[in-house]
């Protein structure tokens, strides 16, 4: 997998969206649903087409509880992992409702496993 400009943009967007949702969820106490909804609406209004979907998918990772993403650094790692998963699975099951959530769940579980290994 080569890293071209668009893939780097996706990775940065995923990291930004996940960490923003995590901040709204835990730091500002909005809760996961409102935090993700807010990030999704902002993304849909200000980011074009497919990139908005990527931002929304990444925001699902930021909905994780503190048991899964205990700090902002781990949330950044979660964003990076969901970005990689999104790039790797762009064509898989397109048009199925919940595809983004499944991608996010996979990324959240991988992040949890990695943080568990690091300790």
């Amino acid at each position: 997998m080569t890293l071209d400009k668009s893939k780097i943009r996706i990775l940065f967007l995923a990291i930004g969206s996940t960490s923003l949702t995590w901040m709204l969820n835990h730091h500002f106490g909005l809760g996961p649903i409102v935090a993700s909804g807010l990030v999704g609406v902002i993304a849909a209004l200000f980011i074009p087409g497919a990139l908005a979907g990527i931002a929304y998918t990444s925001s699902f990772v930021g909905m994780s509880s503190l048991a899964v993403l205990p700090s902002l650094i781990i949330a950044l790692l979660g964003g990076l992992i969901v970005g990689i998963v999104i790039i790797a699975t762009t064509e898989v099951y397109a048009g199925i409702g919940g595809k983004g959530g499944t991608t996010a769940a996979a990324a959240a579980l991988v992040t949890k496993a990695i943080t568990g290994l690091i300790g």
Binding site: G37, G95, G97, G98, K99, G101, T102
Partner: protein, 141 residues
């Protein structure tokens, strides 16, 4: 009673997302995010006891409502997907709690379930029809 309320909430949220996305052409992301945001604000306010659960169900159904028209061509399909989401949500309430993306996974499983059931029913109907045509009929039997 609670299960019925959960299923009804899922149907309303799923259908609302589907209509905003497809009939009003606002796109799946804006449709789902706006339904999620509104339900996150409204449900805890109007239902102090069950509001938290209902807003999560509504968010889950809104992820299901992001299904494309190719996979869910009619509102009946969306109602069935939403019903499965509501039912699955009640069955899996304690599974993977706190993992981001859990609700989307429930939505995806519900979509696959309904598409599978629908395709199986279509295939069964087709097989029955072709079976009926292939049966020898007439006075010579």
């Amino acid at each position: 009673m609670n299960t019925l309320l959960i299923i009804c909430t899922a149907i309303v949220a799923g259908v609302a997302t589907y209509i905003i996305a497809n009939n009003f052409n606002k796109g799946a992301v804006l449709a789902s995010a706006s339904v999620t945001l509104v339900s996150g604000i409204i449900f805890p306010y109007f239902f102090p006891t069950m509001g938290t659960t209902l807003m999560v169900v509504a968010a889950c159904a809104s992820y299901g409502g992001m299904v494309s028209r190719k996979n869910a061509p009619s509102l009946i399909d969306m109602i069935m997907i939403s019903s499965i989401i509501g039912l699955l949500f009640t069955l899996t309430a304690t599974s993977y709690a706190g993992v981001g993306g859990r609700l989307g996974t429930i939505a995806a499983i519900s979509c696959f379930t309904w598409i599978g059931v629908r395709n199986s029913a279509t295939a069964a109907t087709r097989a029955r029809k072709s079976d009926a045509y292939s049966k020898p009929v007439g006075v010579w039997q």
